[in-house]
């Protein structure tokens, strides 16, 4: 569904003596010329590490992101909504799969990445550690969370690492359907009965701020942004994207008759955008540390699915081995 840089510490270590300055210079020149870097090309170790972390975080976010919405598949209120939601959550699984594959081209196996997720070493988007309480949460996630995801991911279609950029092209096409279905579901609720309107506003209140957090920490507190931008792993700063999201989303909320839960929100003619209140960064960092309201539930569900599926994966491998042995005999 989306990714952001969640680390607070600069992750770019000084280039070691093993890295040939001529290779490095050639690499930097290719990236600056907007060429794609491919798996077999030489790349600095820090570039590789940053990408593995970012792409695997992104993949984990897709997979963990199936859970909050999956929570409503069995309770979707019409056959059409059930099909849409199931197809959408299935897309997330597909995104997870291409992203794991893209990360594997950098020399890290899927098992290692999943292990890092389950041990808590790898992060995933903070947004999925909030619960989905009503059907309106599903509408809000599509509209806001996928909306923010698109804004983060569209620039990644031009990211410097080829496999990641190509995965993003496909992901972005699907995300735009995700956002549209969310806004459509929200429109139905916002124009519905009093109970539906209440659900809609309540979900909007709860998902607005976590959606703004999806763009990551403020620029002054995002130590890796400059390096990632130079390497074209990232193409816009967190604050630029956040501002763009607010400017686009506020009129959409007004159209639905929903109130943005921010008393500081005000149009600013000079900047041609909205001024808005301060995101609660303490909450953001707490959720990054794993203190989100349903973080434990999310990780438990993932670990259980993996552990309870172990015998299936072992059986598939054992059968394949038997089959090969028979074929060879």
């Amino acid at each position: 569904m989306y990714t952001t840089e969640l680390g607070k510490q600069p992750n770019v270590k000084p280039i070691g003596p093993a890295e040939d300055p001529a290779l490095l210079e050639a690499f930097e020149a290719r990236v600056a010329a907007d060429e794609f870097i491919e798996p077999k090309d030489w790349m600095p170790e820090a570039y590789r590490r940053t990408l593995v972390r970012q792409i695997s975080q992104h993949a984990h976010s897709e997979i963990v992101g199936m859970l909050p919405e999956g929570n409503w598949i069995t309770r979707a209120p019409s056959l059409r909504r059930k099909q849409i939601l199931l197809a959408k959550v299935q897309d997330e699984a597909g995104h997870g799969l291409y992203l794991y594959c893209a990360a594997e081209t950098l020399g890290t196996s899927r098992e290692e990445m999943i292990e890092a997720l389950h041990s808590g070493k790898a992060k995933y988007s903070t947004i999925f550690n909030y619960p989905t309480l009503t059907w309106a949460d599903i509408a809000a996630i599509g509209w806001l969370v996928d909306g923010a995801a698109i804004m983060n991911q569209v620039p990644l279609q031009r990211t410097s690492y080829g496999p990641y950029a190509r995965a993003m092209v496909r992901v972005c096409k699907e995300e735009s359907f995700h956002q549209r279905q969310g806004y459509e579901a929200m429109t139905e609720l916002a124009n519905g009965t009093a109970a539906q309107k209440r659900m809609a506003q309540d979900a909007f209140n709860r998902w607005w701020w976590p959606s703004l957090m999806m763009f990551g920490p403020p620029d002054e507190n995002s130590p890796n942004t400059a390096q990632s931008m130079r390497w074209r792993i990232k193409r816009d700063t967190n604050d630029e994207l956040r501002q763009k999201f607010v400017d686009i989303t506020v009129p959409q909320a007004e159209y639905l008759g929903l109130t943005v839960p921010d008393s500081a929100l005000k149009w600013n003619d000079d900047k041609g955008g909205y001024d808005f209140g301060e995101v609660d960064w303490d909450e953001f960092y707490a959720v990054v540390r794993g203190e989100g309201p349903v973080a434990r539930e999310r990780m438990t569900a993932r670990r259980e699915a993996w552990e309870q599926g172990a015998w299936v994966r072992e059986a598939a491998a054992a059968h394949e081995a038997k089959r090969r042995k028979r074929a060879a005999a």
Binding site: T74, S78, L79, R81, A316, A318
Partner: protein, 274 residues
């Protein structure tokens, strides 16, 4: 689990009486061709309930690849259900506003998923039946049923293949997977006879060429299942006394819980559109 007594006409009369007094939601507008509607409900409810069951796996499957496949199966089935129920009346009303006594699916599809082995065994038994049936139904005298079945048969061919591959892998995998597959087979096999049951309603629809006669596909079903189980190094279980009733609204205890979850929103907010 003892088998159910056969349904007597007086039971149906009681059910009808209770229904008229509003203990259960009356089905949408009673149709002018009850045998056809009844048949559409059986086809639609089988697909809907199994689709709902499979969707419970979403996000919890043994691997991302399996998650993707199970969601595909579920989507196909819910799509087929939408079409069949749409022919019977208002598909959403039928899916979300009937209670157990008005559901016409077989017992097999409403069984809880259990572990992945049971889910795959259930899917093998059902999709093999469904595939053979849909192939016949594509020659139904009812053009709507023929059309939906012809489209569905293409989708179900993949379900059948996928389920067969998994049953073979699990049966002929490890000791554990074999034991689990046998357990799933034991769980599901009790519900096989119902797939081939022909009651009066169905006999009428078969006579008119609307429905396919499931008894005609039974030999092929048995030989196909036998072949898959053989490859999986598993024995075909012995037949047990039939457990029947689903086609007339008498289900296992599991269906009520499934409906309570599935129907919760439209039931709680009866005036709302979604």
């Amino acid at each position: 689990m003892p088998s159910l007594p056969p349904i007597r006409p007086e039971d149906e009369a009681v059910a009808e009486k209770v229904r008229l007094h509003g203990a259960f939601d009356a089905p949408a507008e009673l149709p002018h061709d009850p045998a056809r509607t009844e048949y559409l409900l059986r086809l639609g409810d089988d697909a809907l309930i199994l689709g709902q069951r499979l969707s419970e796996w979403c996000g919890h499957a043994p691997s991302v690849e399996v998650d993707l496949s199970l969601a595909n199966l579920s989507l196909d089935l819910i799509g087929q259900a939408t079409l069949f129920l749409g022919e019977a009346g208002d598909a959403d009303q039928l899916a979300f506003k009937r209670d157990v006594l008005d559901f016409r699916n077989c017992w097999l599809v409403e069984q809880p998923n259990g572990d992945f082995a049971r889910t795959m065994v259930r899917h093998l038994l059902f999709s093999t039946w469904q595939h053979l049936l849909y192939q016949r139904l594509s020659a139904s005298t009812d053009p709507a049923i023929a059309g939906i079945a012809a489209k569905g048969a293409k989708e179900i061919a993949y379900h059948r293949e996928l389920a067969a591959e998994w049953v073979v892998r699990l049966g002929d995998g490890t000791e554990e997977s074999r034991a689990r597959t046998l357990d799933g087979l034991g769980w599901c096999w009790r519900f096989v006879p119902e797939l081939f049951e022909v009651d009066e309603q169905l006999a009428d629809a078969i006579a008119r060429g609307i429905a396919a006669d499931p008894r005609e596909i039974e030999p092929e079903w048995r030989s196909s299942i036998g072949a898959v189980l053989g490859e999986a190094t598993l024995e075909v279980p012995a037949d047990t006394r039939p457990i029947l009733g689903g086609r007339r609204g008498h289900h296992s205890e599991h269906l009520g819980h499934l409906l309570a979850i599935m129907q919760y929103l439209p039931r709680t907010y009866p005036d709302a559109n979604w």
